[in-house]
């Protein structure tokens, strides 16, 4: 049974980077963030998985991490609204899988006072049907 991580990561990145509203608010969607890129941006690729509820299925938690240097949570919240519009309760076209269904995310704010960074983690549950 093929791992769903990278095919899912590719599809999430394609969806996010295809949206002009979201891309007007961030500098990019990255797994590895080059040093020259400026905030705000989104990182993807972290998560966990387990066998799904039927043979051939995967139950994945995929973390979308929003990073911002705005003085408050407003910018990250505005970005999350776009991410949520694009990823919540959708059917995704993930390579190697017949279907991939997403749910509304669990979210968690984080704060790095020393570096002036705020952000939001949005963890999406995705059921992939192999």
């Amino acid at each position: 049974m093929a791992s769903p991580f990278f095919p899912l990561q590719k599809e999430i990145r394609r969806i996010l980077e295809s949206d002009s509203s979201l891309m007007s608010k961030i500098t990019g969607v990255y797994d590895y963030v080059p040093e020259r890129e400026s905030l705000p941006f989104i990182t993807i690729g972290e998560g966990q998985s387990q066998p799904g509820p039927w043979p051939g299925a995967w139950d994945v938690q995929s973390i979308i991490r929003i990073w911002s240097d705005y003085d408050g949570f407003k910018e990250a919240s505005d970005i999350l609204a776009d991410v949520d519009r694009l990823l919540s309760n959708k059917h995704l076209n993930v390579e190697g899988f017949e279907d991939a269904v997403t749910f509304s995310p669990a979210t968690d704010d984080f704060l790095d006072i020393e570096n002036g960074i705020r952000g939001i983690d949005a963890t999406y549950r995705v059921i992939l049907d192999g």
């Binding site: 990255y30 963030v33 080059p34 040093e35 020259r36 890129e37 905030l39 941006f41 990182t43 991490r65 990073w67 240097d69 705005y70 003085d71 408050g72 949570f73 407003k74 919240s77 790095d112 570096n115 960074i117 952000g119």
Partner: protein
């Protein structure tokens, strides 16, 4: 040699102006508040043989290089101001004054980014 003759460059001082958002945060823009004659040199830690420190900023690597800017004691420079010297921009970490009020010792940092 006078102290003034050692101040070999003029830099621009930009100060953050904030507009509060409805959630209690604030957007930040920078406004030029003046220019300052000064001298800037790297702050070298001889014990650690380095001028900066590695940082992790938002899932991103980089380094801050530290500098000291000397200027006259009556200059208007504050923490969180930006000091702009041509193509270089420094952030003001702290403003210190020597015990005789002879000059300001302004601690700066510059974020250097690699490829």
């Amino acid at each position: 040699m006078s102290f003034l003759s050692l101040l070999n460059k003029t830099v621009e001082i930009r100060r953050p102006q904030r507009v509060t958002d409805p959630g209690g945060g604030s957007s930040r823009t920078y406004v030029t508040v003046g220019t300052v004659k000064c001298r800037i040199r790297p702050l070298i830690s001889r014990l650690m043989d380095r001028t900066g420190n590695e940082i992790e900023l938002g899932h991103q690597g980089g380094t801050y290089v530290r500098y000291v800017m000397y200027c006259m004691p009556n200059e208007d420079v504050q923490r969180n101001d930006l000091v702009v010297d041509g193509s270089k921009t420094y952030e003001v970490d702290a403003v210190l004054i020597d015990s005789k009020g002879h000059h300001l010792d302004v601690r700066l940092r510059e974020r250097q980014r690699g490829n």
